[in-house]
């Protein structure tokens, strides 16, 4: 319980830090980007200029502290300002269109690649003497070094442009009625290449992590004892070694989550996949700062909550943590 409360407190505090970073980034930047933006907006409707003023607290006469207080209040109420590029839509509304696509794509890829990577890692550690195992370690560390967006480009070139197996970008066929069977099929077809990109790039990380944990566990005395007792190899591998090696992997999962999410964002940009990442790309190009910051907050919050869930999973899986020893 103490562990749970500590993790909950940590979650609240990291969320608070993310929200604060969001507030201070535009205000601490050299060269006053907000003012420069405002100067470029001359000739636009006055209410739009007013929304920029409000977003950055320009000319309101409030001190930084008062602005900060107002900002915190607004954020807690879910008011993140008005989008510049889709004026006068609130950014939360713009964001809402993109969120399901990203969650669907990323969550699916994470589960697949974590499961597959862990399984390959277990096998590679168990049979580490074989040539296939060392080959797969080399191969996966090479693939892991590909930038996500570049791998996406390669996939588009070969599978979409050359072989014409999959669409080049987007998330669904605009010609189908939303919700029909044909539409869902087109969603699958459009999602295949982005999903493949994310899975192929992230599998290596999980695999190498699991392999290292597994090798460390295999050197433990209780494995030697289990083998000496003549227990079936399969049982030693699954229940003695893998079960214990997977715990650090779950912790590592939390750690690498931010990295994979970052890769997912880049993948969306390459495929014009209408999720949060592509929206971030559009926001950057349109200099839509409120939208950009809302996206950062959303991603940070999502990753932090996922982290929290992983921590709770460790608590449930690990009796040492559960009983308060650690």
């Amino acid at each position: 319980m103490k562990y749970f409360l500590r993790k909950l407190g940590m979650l609240a505090f990291t969320l608070f830090v993310s929200i604060s970073i969001n507030f201070f980034i535009p205000r601490l930047m050299p060269g006053d980007p907000a003012r420069a933006l405002l100067d470029k907006m001359e000739g636009l409707p006055p209410e739009q200029i007013e929304s920029v003023r409000a977003a950055f607290g320009l000319d309101t006469g409030d001190s930084l502290l008062v602005q900060y207080g107002k900002y915190l209040g607004n954020t807690l109420r879910g008011d993140l300002g008005v989008s510049f590029s889709r004026f006068p839509m609130p950014v939360t509304q713009v964001l809402r269109i993109a969120i399901p696509w990203t969650i669907g794509l990323l969550a699916l890829c994470m589960v697949i690649s974590f499961a597959l990577g862990t399984a390959i890692g277990i096998a590679a550690a168990w049979k580490r003497e074989t040539r296939l195992a060392s080959f797969s370690v080399g191969l996966f560390s090479f693939i892991r070094s590909f930038p996500y967006f570049w791998l996406g480009l390669i996939f588009i070139y070969f599978f979409a442009f050359r072989l014409r197996l999959f669409p080049i970008g987007g998330a669904y066929a605009v010609t189908e009625t939303r919700g029909s069977a044909a539409w869902w099929l087109s969603v699958l077809r459009h999602g295949t290449l982005p999903a493949l990109t994310i899975c192929v790039s992230s599998i290596g990380g999980w695999m190498l992590m699991m392999r290292n944990n597994m090798i460390n566990v295999l050197a433990e005395d209780y494995i030697t004892v289990a083998l000496a007792k003549g227990l079936p190899l399969r049982r030693v591998k699954a229940l003695y070694a893998a079960k214990n090696a997977i715990l650090p992997s779950v912790t590592g999962f939390a750690m690498s989550l931010g990295f994979v999410v970052g890769g997912g964002l880049l993948t969306e940009m390459v495929f014009s996949y209408p999720g949060v990442g592509y929206m971030l790309y559009q926001a950057v190009n349109a200099k839509d700062y409120p939208l950009m910051q809302a996206i950062f907050l959303f991603i940070a919050a999502a990753v932090l909550v996922a982290n929290f869930i992983a921590d709770i999973a460790v608590m449930i899986l690990d009796p040492r943590v559960r009983d308060g020893a650690a």
């Binding site: 070094s145 970052g262 950009m292």
Partner: protein, 325 residues
């Protein structure tokens, strides 16, 4: 001490392979002016030939190159010396071939030259950021680990907080606000967001070493903290510090390429990331110009693999369990 460390690295097959690839890229970066056939942004070759002189046969000043478009103009310097100036424009989006081993881009710039010059920018940004991150996190780790107490609590707490805040979106938002586009802001942004993970690992190592007998003895003998830190603790951390340096450099090269690909870097500087940015902006994919976007990514992957290989070696040296039995 550092010499010993490198000797061990060279003896390990994996890290030797990694070091060789790394050395190759550093070599290309250092000697880019000699290796690149053209300046990074050249789209033409201008040659001047003496065609008529007072005495003897015409002499050649420089040799020209075959191309699609050629402009020739003749002019006289004196009444008797006549020159012929030939301007050869490079073809646009040309396939790899004679004269352009990796083809050309939309502006007719030689992509092989761009790749070589880009190596210089990308490798130096990567190594500089790696160094910056390593020094920053090593300082934090030594302060936190050695001093302990409330200082340690504060540093560890913030390390754990920033560790879980996703890096790439943060980097993108900061970079979008930075008015000055260029290499230095990228190094700073990547450096100031890359410290948490190495700090955490290094601090753990400082704590382990601090509790070892030889450090305890030294402390109870009344040695100055600077002596204990720099003569007792630091030399025993070289392998893990180097591992963090390589990992941070790799992360920096990836981060730089990502930022530039999105267009948040200075797109007028030629680097691996900006080559990909221009390729994407000019529809290299849909015109089938594979020679344009394939090589920069392969270079990033190869360099990344080099860092991973070196770290495999370091892991095997410091963790005997990972060694082949």
């Amino acid at each position: 001490m550092i010499k010993d460390f490198f000797l061990t690295l060279v003896r390990n097959r994996k890290s030797l392979a990694g070091l060789c690839i790394l050395a190759f890229f550093v070599f290309v970066a250092a000697f880019a002016p000699l290796l690149a056939p053209h300046p990074a942004k050249a789209d033409r070759v201008v040659t001047t030939k003496l065609v008529k002189a007072e005495t003897g046969d015409p002499e050649t000043v420089a040799e020209g190159e075959a191309s699609d478009v050629r402009e020739v103009e003749t002019y006289r310097v004196t009444t008797v010396r006549e020159y012929e100036k030939t301007t050869d424009y490079f073809p646009l989006k040309a396939k790899p071939g004679k004269g352009h081993p990796l083809g050309t881009n939309h502006a007719g710039q030689d992509l092989f030259s761009q790749l070589v010059w880009g190596t210089r920018v990308s490798v130096s940004v990567g190594l500089a950021t790696g160094l910056f991150v390593t020094l920053l996190s090593l300082t934090l780790a030594l302060v936190a680990g050695y001093a302990g107490g409330i200082l340690d609590d504060i540093i560890s707490f913030f390390t754990n907080v920033f560790l879980v805040i996703p890096g790439l979106p943060l980097i993108i938002v900061i970079a979008a606000y930075v008015a000055m586009k260029g290499v230095l802001p990228i190094v700073l942004i990547l450096g100031l967001t890359g410290w948490p993970y190495p700090t955490r690992l290094l601090r753990a190592q400082v704590l382990t070493l601090k509790s070892r007998d030889f450090v305890r003895v030294s402390r109870s003998l009344g040695e100055r903290p600077s002596f204990v830190i720099f003569r007792e603790i630091l030399p025993n951390m070289i392998s893990i510090v180097m591992a963090e340096f390589f990992a941070s450099s790799m992360a920096a090269i990836m981060g730089e390429a990502s930022l530039e690909f999105i267009g948040l870097g200075n797109v007028t500087v030629v680097s691996w990331g900006t080559i990909l940015y221009w390729a994407q902006a000019n529809g290299a994919l849909l015109s089938g110009a594979w020679w344009w976007f394939l090589p920069p990514g392969l270079c990033i992957a190869l360099l990344g693999t080099a860092f991973v290989l070196v770290n495999f070696g370091i892991d095997e040296i410091s963790n005997p369990r990972l060694r082949k039995r």
